[in-house]
Point group: D3
Chain length 274, copies 6
Amino acid sequence: MFFTDGKLQYPVRVETPDPLFARALQQAIGGVEGEIRVAMQYFFQACGARGNTKFRDLLMNTAAEELGHIEMLATAVALNLEGAPLSIREEVAGDPVGGAVLGGINLKNLLSSGLAAMPVDSDGVPFDMSHIYASGNIAADMTANVTAEATGRVLAVRLYGMTNDPGMKDMLSFLIARDTMHQNQWLAALEELGGHEKAFPIPNSFPQDQEQQEFSYAFLGFQQDGSDPIAGRWSQGQSIDGKGSFKAGPTMAMGQKPTLAPAKPNSGAQSEQM
Amino acid sequence: MFFTDGKLQYPVRVETPDPLFARALQQAIGGVEGEIRVAMQYFFQACGARGNTKFRDLLMNTAAEELGHIEMLATAVALNLEGAPLSIREEVAGDPVGGAVLGGINLKNLLSSGLAAMPVDSDGVPFDMSHIYASGNIAADMTANVTAEATGRVLAVRLYGMTNDPGMKDMLSFLIARDTMHQNQWLAALEELGGHEKAFPIPNSFPQDQEQQEFSYAFLGFQQDGSDPIAGRWSQGQSIDGKGSFKAGPTMAMGQKPTLAPAKPNSGAQSEQM
Amino acid sequence: MFFTDGKLQYPVRVETPDPLFARALQQAIGGVEGEIRVAMQYFFQACGARGNTKFRDLLMNTAAEELGHIEMLATAVALNLEGAPLSIREEVAGDPVGGAVLGGINLKNLLSSGLAAMPVDSDGVPFDMSHIYASGNIAADMTANVTAEATGRVLAVRLYGMTNDPGMKDMLSFLIARDTMHQNQWLAALEELGGHEKAFPIPNSFPQDQEQQEFSYAFLGFQQDGSDPIAGRWSQGQSIDGKGSFKAGPTMAMGQKPTLAPAKPNSGAQSEQM
Amino acid sequence: MFFTDGKLQYPVRVETPDPLFARALQQAIGGVEGEIRVAMQYFFQACGARGNTKFRDLLMNTAAEELGHIEMLATAVALNLEGAPLSIREEVAGDPVGGAVLGGINLKNLLSSGLAAMPVDSDGVPFDMSHIYASGNIAADMTANVTAEATGRVLAVRLYGMTNDPGMKDMLSFLIARDTMHQNQWLAALEELGGHEKAFPIPNSFPQDQEQQEFSYAFLGFQQDGSDPIAGRWSQGQSIDGKGSFKAGPTMAMGQKPTLAPAKPNSGAQSEQM
Amino acid sequence: MFFTDGKLQYPVRVETPDPLFARALQQAIGGVEGEIRVAMQYFFQACGARGNTKFRDLLMNTAAEELGHIEMLATAVALNLEGAPLSIREEVAGDPVGGAVLGGINLKNLLSSGLAAMPVDSDGVPFDMSHIYASGNIAADMTANVTAEATGRVLAVRLYGMTNDPGMKDMLSFLIARDTMHQNQWLAALEELGGHEKAFPIPNSFPQDQEQQEFSYAFLGFQQDGSDPIAGRWSQGQSIDGKGSFKAGPTMAMGQKPTLAPAKPNSGAQSEQM
Amino acid sequence: MFFTDGKLQYPVRVETPDPLFARALQQAIGGVEGEIRVAMQYFFQACGARGNTKFRDLLMNTAAEELGHIEMLATAVALNLEGAPLSIREEVAGDPVGGAVLGGINLKNLLSSGLAAMPVDSDGVPFDMSHIYASGNIAADMTANVTAEATGRVLAVRLYGMTNDPGMKDMLSFLIARDTMHQNQWLAALEELGGHEKAFPIPNSFPQDQEQQEFSYAFLGFQQDGSDPIAGRWSQGQSIDGKGSFKAGPTMAMGQKPTLAPAKPNSGAQSEQM
């Protein structure tokens, strides 16, 4: 169950409204690296968590924080749009900047929402909830969360570099710090789950003697000329999960040329296929 | 540039065609944890890789392998569908199994593709390429790849448990082994990039003195009653990136109650909003 | 800013887990009439509300409630899935019910989420945030919210009729009551905005003398034989907004046969089009 | 069955082609508030209407009109695009307006359709038919239609304010008038269905003694500090459906902390979850 | 501008309602081979047609027919759903057929639309208007239309084979005949545009001396072992457009190993990439 | 199984990076006429091909080529983006071109991928795999492939006309030539399948005496005034499939006014509908 206090987690100020930056901020709301994604991902992972309930609590607590981040960013978008023009003025030919602004924003921020934020990305594409990864495997979920916060911080850093507005830079410096914490937080959760050697390969509940172990730590090459694939930490030494040793070399087809049965009568194929 | 040899990487055999299992296998083709996703993700990451070219080579090599995995699974789907009925027989009332089969498959596998695989998931939803994470940050990409292989192996293990067909179990035991390798491979790449202490927080190129460091390692609580959030590795000790110490406690709003300007005239709002 | 207490707003009990009903409940989570939709719709409307701040507060308060409804339903889905089979047993031919269950659920609830809820509808289609209507016009938003709660209560009533489980019926009887309240609540907000005669036509800020008033209250007929369109309250009497009188009759084209210029050279058209 | 006369319902003239305005008009074609949506929504509601057939007739008649509106807008888009540049001229550095135009249009209007309209919104996102609300409940459908026309008129008013072209303003003044009528028309249909007191709560066929009536007219507060929620028409007085009295106050969790069973063996979870 | 007469183009009768067949028919409404697609494709092609207006008239005339086909199929779906159960009866364990029916339909046809048709495919996926191909090139459009009618007739034939209901077979035998006509109609339009030798390669307005003619009629082999690609009509003889002669053989890379510049400072990449 | 050599099929050079052109090139990667579409379409058609295996080989060979085209275009996008600004400079008001560039690109190419290509179209919309047509009917598939290459060449020609960069023009002149070949190649495959008279109507396996032959070659008119539809090759003479003669004339409804049963009790409809 959720509660609100009607306030923002951290101050949101815009000194010079910039409609183009409003468009960019939309990526942090409705982009695949954005805040809707993390809020809903942690929420659904929490709802489906089985086993030790501390992970449910950890996830739902952070989901609550991320909801507040959407709110901060949505406020920032609305404030940045307050300077946007509503019409293509007659003088547009003589005032290219005006035209550039209208051409450069997501028009839906004007036409659909009346100068407010929307759950879309920086090109106006709506967020699609298939991006909520909640696998039922707690280690896979924690890994997905590290990824989400890594791409999220990359995005926040790009936004930070794009603006000169002191209010926006201040807000982003807070969000970047929270992404630092959240990357560490999910890595810490993976450590509680045993780290690389206990948690991997994910899922750790599958008996590895049932997999084709000849291929479990082999770096196979798919170079057309049959040469070895590029060498690196992945081609020699102990595997990261501590359960094997990397080996490397070119590979070739072990399987057949596939053949399917002819098409069935009445299956809508051409006669020649039957 | 790509080449093909017309053969399968590993043998694909189906002893007893099972249309319901064909539907389940679709998840491994067109699901968000499936093979189209990894093939295209590694491909686009390779195409956009900047810096040391060994990562481009590593990524494109593995993209080539994953294309072959789509091919294996598509063959498996087609072979499993060869036993599917094409019509609702008159006797369906007296033969519930027949009806259950037609009701239980993705009908598009019959109506749209004529008993062949499609780039859709196990509920018939087409794969959407927004799931291709290629961030331009090599460490974020490697983390995303560990996630992709973790969820991919979880899926393959679930499919393995769902079938009794020896051919299918053999194929899946190979794919599970490859997922083991690929999890390790991307973790190894992260190790080459310096591991937790050098690569994190991602991106490592942002000067941390520009983030609000007070919040960079703080586990904030959002419990309605103001209690502390659940304790764990994430609430005390050195941070995983080695650059701070975790602390924890409840939090409260630092920001204002947000206020937006009244709606502009001619903005399509109600008069009362202006 | 949001807080959680880790509990459910109302008890969620499942006496007899039913995987088919879990699938049906998914519609109330990720369907276009579902709880993600209302939670996010009220949230974004609140964030973009301009004018009297009481509407922001009203909206955000109810957004918080709806987040708790998603949580209740996600718990209900997970509990109902606890009885689902994980494998296609050898005996499926002799036990059609087993096959029907696996065929009848969203396979992603098993393969992707490990027997937990997902942000998808009852056919496994992910929720798409383009369904969040937040127009920047407070009266249009309130109308959209009445619609959301009307279709939401229709759905909840259908789910209520579909199950015999006492726990599920109890939970739904609560959600149906809340939908009753929320329909009334948004209608009450429309009343505060002046009701039919002050709020309509939406937006009420557009001077009606700039519209083609000859057509503002005319019920036009598009019957191929030129007959009058079906009569009703909409074809005579005062208009509902009190600003005109309905009239009715057949219509015919007032505009031209459209003609476009020939295709430009170099525009990728056929030569014959230029 | 449908017929056409090859003409436009109302004249469409463009005096000064404006590619940016063409982009904006796309929202009225393929946006969620656009004409494809209403045409198809009324069409599908008509096809599924059960009960008094006058509603089927009313709906299909208006669907026919809306198809003509798509045609008008598609013509307007094509005419506005006739001035668009096809190439990034060498002089773009010295002629920023040229670059702004190409940058400001939906490039698909040029690259995919050759300077013609497409079923996409103003940011190039294709219309998705999940926006067709046809619930099988005639009162819910009428409410959805008021919403569609309310957001549609808001959009048309915004477009009207954005352009100075007399032909475009004339066309929009007609479409705005039709939206006025259609809002009134669907409100009139709701009045025929009994208005607020007979039609609500929707569906009116569910016996209210089966809902948890204690919560049917209660405005619950979800303020973190336990304070009362914002007061208004929704917190006191008779409910709008005339079947209860509003009351208001803070609320708290009535349900349990949710607990799910441990993960099943072979379910792809981590060992620690089992 | 469009008109309706409220009747169906051809009789629609269902003798024995079959909810599973209703689900299959949904593919012919909202599938990518379905009637919404052709109706809207011809409509948008008509609206954007430049050059000889006879093609606009041809396209809009057929768009009107296809709208009537959606209406027929939507009626067929609603009639087939009239036998569907609304609840999971207590006796489901003892009556597997009942469970199979509920499990086998698109639940949205019950939960969202109340036993009526929806603009979705046979797996409940909504139609997405990006499938409307209207290229601005009249020959490309006609080719796309042949494709649409070819896949449409394949689908109709599959549906015909799936049902035993005389009414449904009669309706489908009409729709199959119309698909025969429409395939021929668009092929005839291509013949009017000059057939293979005048219309191809599409677009015929591009001067072929500006393409790399060495590769214009060469069937290149991408076999890993450097062998010749499979021979056929495509590897020798005059090209179908009459403008060259086919030749065939293996190929190899002509381009470089791609190298991108290092990542820019402040671009969110890892330090190592800069 | 697939292999790579790490090189580009044809040289990719960019003399003057142009971020707007990078955006346009995205259409050729992730647009519905783009290279992902053809690569994956041929791949899935190959995997599902039944009957003569030469078509599988033909399709998979060309799929390999198209994968290389995605690689070329992705490289071209990254090279064109190397000149893009990363920030909204203070001087934007005085330097409208800078603003126009940031406003004119897909911001995701900057914010999500760090100046690299993505699997999205020129307006930032991700590619959706429902566009992969693989029907199980080899003639329908070949027709779909002609369409894909026709719209693909139209797009490439538009891109060629949009740029002045010699490197980009050279790359596109190669891709245009390949589209010429591929149009011819698939037309040649149709010729091997018997051409118009043997392959059409598709599918050729359905006995035409089971269709309503009265309507198989009739060009029906849907003009509101009952006039004849526009005449052309499609209204007289032998049909293109050689199996009938075209005839033409107006048509009228043969079917009934549709009537559905009243809504069922407990179906969520209004009482008045039951």
